[in-house]
Amino acid sequence: MNKWMTSNLWRHVVAISVVLFSLFPLYLVIISSFNPSGSLNLTSFLPREISFVNYSLLFSDPRIPYLSWMKNSLIIAAAVAILSVTIGAASAFAFSRLRFKGKMSGLKLLLLVQMFPAILAISAVYVIMERVQSFAPGIGLGTRPGLLLVYLGGAMGVNIWLLKGFVDSIPAELDEAAKVDGASPMQIYWLIFIPLATPVLAVVALLSFIGTFNEFILARLFLVDMSERTIAVGLQSFIGGQYSQNWGPFAAGSIIASVPIVVIFLSLQKYIINGLTAGSVKG
């Protein structure tokens, strides 16, 4: 008993206190979402009443286009994930497996560019897209396709870099053998590399999806119309803007929006964490 006390007790104490710290906000959001009075308060540890008012409000109040927000976020994030990985994988393959002039300087440039935080160039992106808007209103400032383009550009640096790391770890013997048999780089890419890399591509696509889902500031600058907003911007407007301090529906909305992300994250944590340690800090 005494030995157990000294060797294991402190471990449990540390773990339990941090677990409480981790759970506190989450618990609070959950009980607030069932609390019809609408503040992020802690009147008692157990909810006095359970009501689904906040949840039903999200889907019934015409002033809250929650479903369109969700749809916008999912479509944009999915499009960014799929397109950026498709484009990024090809580039990563070239950087990892092909020999060409200027490869080293290309990689260095990529690295350097990646260090320019996207938010810093935001005023330039804004001005550029404002100009695009003037001649192509469909893809400029204030449109979802425009936002998608900007996201794709921003995702490129990180994704190519991340994917190159993964591609490097796939043994080169297979494609060398194929090369000996007379396969062209295109064939090696489609018939050998892509099937091998699919799990890895899926993970990077997922990281990209979560990152885009979480993106706030570009979405806020770009999408002005209430129904065009993404979920992050929309939910923020609950508590910041005209609804001021509407915590009940906010809590309900965040829970619905977070559950899929949390489930994806937890079920694929092993792969995701490998990706994160390979070169990025989740935003």
Binding site: A15, V127, W190, N214, V262
Partner: protein, 514 residues
């Protein structure tokens, strides 16, 4: 079988069709860009079109076939904006100086008018004259006659032929018919730009649909000498080299609007030479460093503590682990907003829990504490995960050997485990520092940078980090300064890049190229 999809006629046809569609879309865009004189964008599109067709229709470069799409996106939305930021940082690019010089001159001329000294206003009717020109019919109270003014001329109308409406306002005459409501509606947007001749000196400008005032030009532009001359007091206004025409006798007296004018490094030097900018900049800079440093320190310390505590197969370890990464799995935007609500003074759970009554976001020290606490919650799982991984990677033989030599567990930790961990994790620590250095979302969503000292014009708050401060400068309503914001952006980039480069050198990532 499969190979035939990637070779053969089908694949070729597919490639040509895709290229055709893409090319035609891009050509259309380039044409539109050219039409609205966005030359840089048009040139970029043209180069893209040539490159795409060249690369995919010839066999000159196989690698380019793979990375051209990525390259184009990178050029358009990352490298382009970075270069543009660099360019903007060399200009006066701010509220009042957003136009090109030619546009600014046109605007100054348009605005360079004054009303006559009596501020005369005529009741007018808008219509068309006999030759179908847009014109005004009105009673001229200065000369006591009815008159019709077009853009170029004014003719008097005999009183007997003028028809008046129930308000005694002239509404038509043989030489004049009023516009219909619909026609007026269509004209609405042009109203401020319309001018009607009154005399050589004065013209009539509309104030809505039913009234017009007498204006005269107050500024004369001299193209050859590139200067404005005041027609009122003969003052000369010249290009002051900073994007404005300024009175040569009084540099403070400038004409609005100005234009984007190159000032080279002034945006940079201004940050250090002007007291008004330097003080908040240094304050924000110091807090940014402390914030990033403290964030890394706290998240790493808690993560490491957990990793050590759970490095042994104790009961419930899996359960603990799955709970501990929850904060990391949650979308961070939402977590930050939730924490913002919890720190609310009146209704927030934090004050509630501790029975306190602290106005967290009104006081600099409390707001900073809140920021660090929230970031700790967001960030410790990352270091818990990576430190756990790193602990596994340290060979057990090392500590066993030390234990045999009689080292205490504390000595083993301090002398062996920790130094090795730091060595393994240092690139991640540096990356985390660089990330927090620019942790815009946290600051923007939690405190908005506040609290802000109530000085006039001051926009830097106590929790503002460089990036949120820059954002405020760039998008401050009514007083945005893109030039200055760009200069700060470039400085932040240089800083973060050198920190990251140092980190990468340490981690030897660069050696792994090839």
């Amino acid at each position: 079988m499969l190979i035939s999809i990637f070779r053969g006629k089908f694949a070729f046809a597919l490639k040509v069709i895709t290229l055709l569609i893409l090319t035609s879309i891009l050509v259309m865009l380039a044409q539109q860009a050219l039409a609205s004189s966005e030359y840089a964008i048009a040139i970029f599109l043209a180069i893209s079109i040539v490159m795409i067709n060249f690369v995919y229709l010839t066999k000159r470069s196989v690698p380019l076939k793979f990375f051209l799409p990525g390259l184009l996106f990178l050029l358009a939305f990352v490298i382009g904006p970075i270069l543009y930021t660099l360019v903007m940082s060399g200009f006066t690019y701010q509220t009042g100086n957003t136009l090109s010089k030619a546009d600014a001159i046109t605007q100054v001329q348009k605005l360079g008018v004054v009303q006559d000294s009596n501020q005369t206003i005529f009741d007018v009717t808008i219509g068309k004259n006999g030759s179908n020109e847009l014109s005004l019919l009105y009673f001229d109270s200065l000369t006591n006659e009815f008159a019709i003014s077009t853009e170029k001329a004014r003719t008097a109308e005999p009183e007997s032929t003028v028809v008046k409406d129930e308000f005694d306002i002239p509404s038509s005459s043989p030489n004049f018919s009023a516009l219909t409501e619909d026609e007026l509606g269509a004209l609405d947007a042009q109203i401020p730009a319309l001018k009607f001749y009154y005399s050589d000196e004065y013209y009539l400008g509309l104030e809505g649909f039913q009234a017009a005032s007498l204006y005269k030009k107050s500024l004369q532009f001299n193209q050859a000498r590139d200067e404005f001359k005041s027609l009122i007091n003969n003052d000369i206004y010249r290009d002051n080299g900073r994007g404005n025409f300024a009175n040569i006798n009084n540099p403070e007296d400038i004409l609005q609007p100005g234009w984007r004018s190159p000032i080279w490094f002034e945006n940079y030097t201004k940050l250090f030479s002007e007291e008004r900018l330097r003080t908040p900049f240094i304050k924000v800079f110091l807090w940014t460093i402390s914030f990033a440093g403290l964030s890394v320190l706290t998240t790493f310390a808690l993560g490491l503590l957990l990793a050590i505590a759970l490095n042994k197969a104790i009961r419930g370890r899996r359960f603990y682990r799955s709970i501990l990464i929850l904060p990391y799995a949650m979308p961070s935007v939402m977590s930050i907003l939730i924490w913002g609500g919890m720190f609310d003074t009146e209704f927030g759970a934090i004050n509630n829990l501790f029975g306190t009554d602290i106005a967290w976001f009104q006081n600099a020290a409390f707001a900073r504490t809140a920021v660090i606490v929230v970031n700790l919650w967001l960030g410790f799982p990352y270091f818990y995960l990576v430190a756990s991984g790193a602990l596994q990677a340290i060979p057990a033989e090392l500590s066993e050997a030390a234990a045999i030599d009689g080292a205490t567990p504390r000595q083993i930790f301090n002398k062996i485990t920790l130094p090795l961990l730091l060595k393994i994790l240092s690139p991640l620590l540096i990356a985390s520092f660089a990330f927090n250095f620019n942790n815009f979302n946290l600051i923007y969503l939690l405190t908005g940078g506040g609290p802000i000292a109530q000085l006039d014009g001051e926009i830097a708050g106590s929790t503002d980090i460089l990036i949120s401060y820059t954002y405020k400068i760039a998008f401050n309503q009514g007083n945005s300064n893109l030039g200055l914001a760009s200069a700060i952006s470039v400085l932040i980039f240089l800083l973060v890049a050198s920190i990251s480069m140092y980190g990468l050198k340490k981690s030897k990532v660069l050696d792994d190229f090839v």
